[in-house]
């Protein structure tokens, strides 16, 4: 052990990556930024050749309706990743939102009580995350991983070992059913919900002061703290918002499926993470954004739908998803590396060693 101990002795990180980081290149369009939209176009073309049905309006809206919940979860995650963290417990927030609202409807409460109850339960999950990460300073990945563990148990305990809750359709108040199954100007309510939340979050991140502060707290935590931002409050707010959005997705799920099935939320987690980081490739700075996330979500949706239409069994779907995810991210990294040496954008984010050097210096400044 003694040899290892000497290795962890103080070593000053070289200033190289930090200097490189400040030299951002503007102007020329990086090829890597076209990877995600290019893949989307490619998937559309391939499947439209293979199956004539995919381009019908009905099918396209069907796809959007299917991915609406994933879009909501992924947008919540976008906020957290923008704030420099990660949230593996979005499935728990989603499930608890669905559980609470389905339960309240089942017990005969009004629609708004059920929605508020669902959002509050999800907010509690976010509060636990924020407490663990901001106050106890547990790394976000591990803190939210244990919330995932504990949350799964909580669901089983609340439902007597994992019994689903089914709502009989006539007893569900119209005000609740419309959230998931209604139509607004002929468009599926789930799509309307996802689009409106996306718009709100996109504006929040894009044009408000809060959005800029959050981005700064995520990308340069020590600089943000030194310049007087309350980074703890900002990061906590990202986890709370993420949980509430995921909880809203849960309420939509409960209204859409007329019930609640334990553990259904965690299925969205992996796709949401994939979509968020596919989205990061379209930004010059490797920043995650609502627009990019939605592109990632639609890629996954089209892929699933297209594979179904050409009749491949669902066993192959994860394979296709995994390969597409891997190839998009690899293409972005490789193209970006060839283009410009200074690691900016997605490359600073995705490239491990440089980014690690940066975060190490940033982490050290925190007392």
């Amino acid at each position: 052990m003694s040899t290892i101990e000497t290795l962890a002795a103080p070593v000053e990180p070289s200033p190289g990556p930090v200097a490189a980081y400040s030299g951002k290149k503007r102007g020329t369009l990086q090829a890597s930024r076209l990877v995600a939209p290019g893949t989307l176009a490619l998937i559309l073309i391939v499947f439209s050749v293979l199956s004539p049905v995919i381009f019908t309006v009905g099918n396209l809206f069907g796809i959007l309706g299917q991915v609406a919940l994933l879009a909501l979860a992924a947008i919540g995650l976008t906020l957290v990743v923008r704030a420099g963290g990660i949230d593996l417990s979005i499935g728990v927030a989603l499930d608890l939102g669905a559980l609470a609202s389905a339960w309240l409807i089942h017990d005969g409460y009004r629609a708004w009580v059920a929605v508020a109850g669902g959002l509050l339960c999800a907010l509690a999950v976010g509060a636990v995350n924020a407490l663990l990460i901001v106050i106890l300073r547990i790394p976000a990945f591990l803190a939210t991983l244990s919330v995932w563990f504990a949350g799964t148990s909580v669901q089983q305990l609340l439902t007597g070992g994992g019994a689903p809750i089914y709502l009989s359709a006539p007893l569900v108040p119209d005000g609740f059913a419309v959230i998931g199954r209604g139509y607004f100007l002929g468009i599926d309510a789930a799509i309307v919900n996802a689009v409106s939340i996306s718009l709100v979050v996109a504006l929040l991140l894009g044009i408000t002061r809060y959005g800029r502060k959050l981005t700064m707290a995520g990308e340069q935590p020590s600089a943000a703290r030194i310049s007087g931002l309350r980074t703890n409050a900002l990061i906590a707010s990202a986890y709370l918002l993420c949980a509430v959005i995921a909880g809203f997705a849960g309420v939509v799920l409960a209204a859409r499926s007329n019930g609640y099935v334990p553990g259904s939320g965690q299925a969205y987690l992996m796709d949401a993470i994939g979509a968020v980081f596919i989205g990061a490739t379209i930004s010059r700075y490797g920043r995650v954004s609502v627009g990019g996330t939605l592109i990632g979500v639609v890629i996954f949706g089209l892929l699933d739908n297209g594979l179904n239409l050409i009749g491949l069994s669902f066993f192959w779907q994860d394979l296709a998803r995994g390969l597409v995810l891997l190839s998009i991210l690899l293409a972005a990294v490789v193209l970006g590396r060839a283009k410009s040496r200074p690691a900016t954008g997605i490359f600073a984010l995705l490239r491990t060693t440089k980014h690690q050097a940066l975060t190490n210096t940033a982490k050290g400044n925190r007392k």
Partner: protein
């Protein structure tokens, strides 16, 4: 960001921790002993030889796969978002188990079937390692290969349980050497070998260096990519071996089991931090943590605790471990 402001990578002062271990360093051991004593007093069966053999058998799967993950964390750094993590380990174990069971069902001799499983696992490890050395975040690269491995498992097994029969698997399940199951010996052997490589050889020391401070290691002339590539290949190979052991224990390859064991493998690898005075992930600690987690599962069941609570207990456990680790880190700074 002047050079004077740039401090150490959270390293505690080496001298202090070497001479006298702080009280906090023993909290981990004390907590574990307390839990085990509770079980021993709570149930008369907990300390019987057959129960201990059961615990060790259960621990071996997580222990072997956990050692692989520990290697990845050692060579990649324990910052999960940017450092080393292998999310595909559970799915790879499942895939290897399925391949082994299919090969055995097709009449391949047991040893060769296991070899096939481990080879497929290693192939996925090579994909992981190459993606990471190309510059992809390990979290994302292994997330993608996790989907690929889980899907391949479904494709191969058609989502059906594949039973394995034959002397080889029964021997792997049932053999006992000096009162301890064969698989536990295997776990101890792998643990000892990896501990020797990563604790005593220059390869291991360099791996720690690359993980703790890649910039410094690069300046010192090490190429982090070599060590990282090797760590992912090793991790997947060990996960594959663990998967075949799981098949031998269950007498069947059960589809979808990979995602279930992933969380336990991660728990075991990170729990090893409490066995290390310097809150590093360690190989020996991983094996001890695997035994403890298996004992926890077993003990809670013997005490009659409902299975729903076991997950909550594990979640709480990770939190306690991490909280103690963070507190210790703060004190040392």
């Amino acid at each position: 960001m002047s050079a004077t402001l740039v401090p150490v990578d959270e390293a505690p002062a080496p001298g202090a921790s070497r001479t006298k271990p702080r009280l906090a360093a023993w909290i981990g051991y004390a907590g574990i002993t307390a839990v085990l004593l509770l079980f021993a007093f709570g149930s008369p069966f907990f300390l019987t030889a057959s129960n201990i053999a059961t615990i060790l058998t259960q621990a071996s799967v997580f222990g072997i796969a956990g050692v692989g993950l520990a290697i990845v964390i050692i060579a990649g750094g324990d910052d999960v978002l940017n450092g080393g993590i292998d999310l595909s380990t559970g799915a790879v174990a499942g895939l290897a188990g399925t391949v082994t069971a299919l090969a055995a069902a097709a009449g391949t001799p047991g040893m060769v079937a296991v070899l096939y499983g481990v080879l497929v696992a290693t192939a996925i490890g090579v994909v992981n390692g190459l993606s990471v050395t190309l510059g992809l975040r390990p979290l994302l690269a292994t997330l993608a290969t996790m989907g690929v491995a889980a899907s391949l498992e479904l494709v191969f097994s058609q989502n059906l349980k594949i039973a394995v029969t034959g002397g080889f698997f029964e021997a792997a399940r049932g053999s006992v050497l000096f009162g301890i199951p064969l698989v536990a010996w295997l776990m101890a052997l792998i643990g000892a070998a990896v501990w020797w490589v990563y604790g005593k050889t220059s390869w291991g020391v360099n791996s720690y260096a690359v993980g703790q401070n890649p910039t410094a290691a690069q300046v010192a002339g090490l190429d982090p990519r070599r060590y990282r590539l090797a760590s992912y290949v090793l991790s997947s190979a060990l996960a594959g071996l663990a998967g075949t052991l799981l098949v031998a224990r269950l007498s069947a390859a059960v589809p979808g089991i990979g995602t279930q064991i992933l969380l336990d493998i991660i728990l075991v690898a990170y729990m090893s931090m409490i066995f290390s005075r310097r809150r590093l992930v360690s190989v020996v600690g991983t094996v001890l943590a695997a035994v403890f987690v298996a004992a926890l599962d077993n003990g809670l069941t013997l005490l009659g605790v409902a299975s729903q609570w076991v997950g909550a207990a594990k979640g709480l456990l990770i939190l306690l471990v991490l909280a103690s680790v963070t507190l210790r880190g703060r004190k040392n700074r």
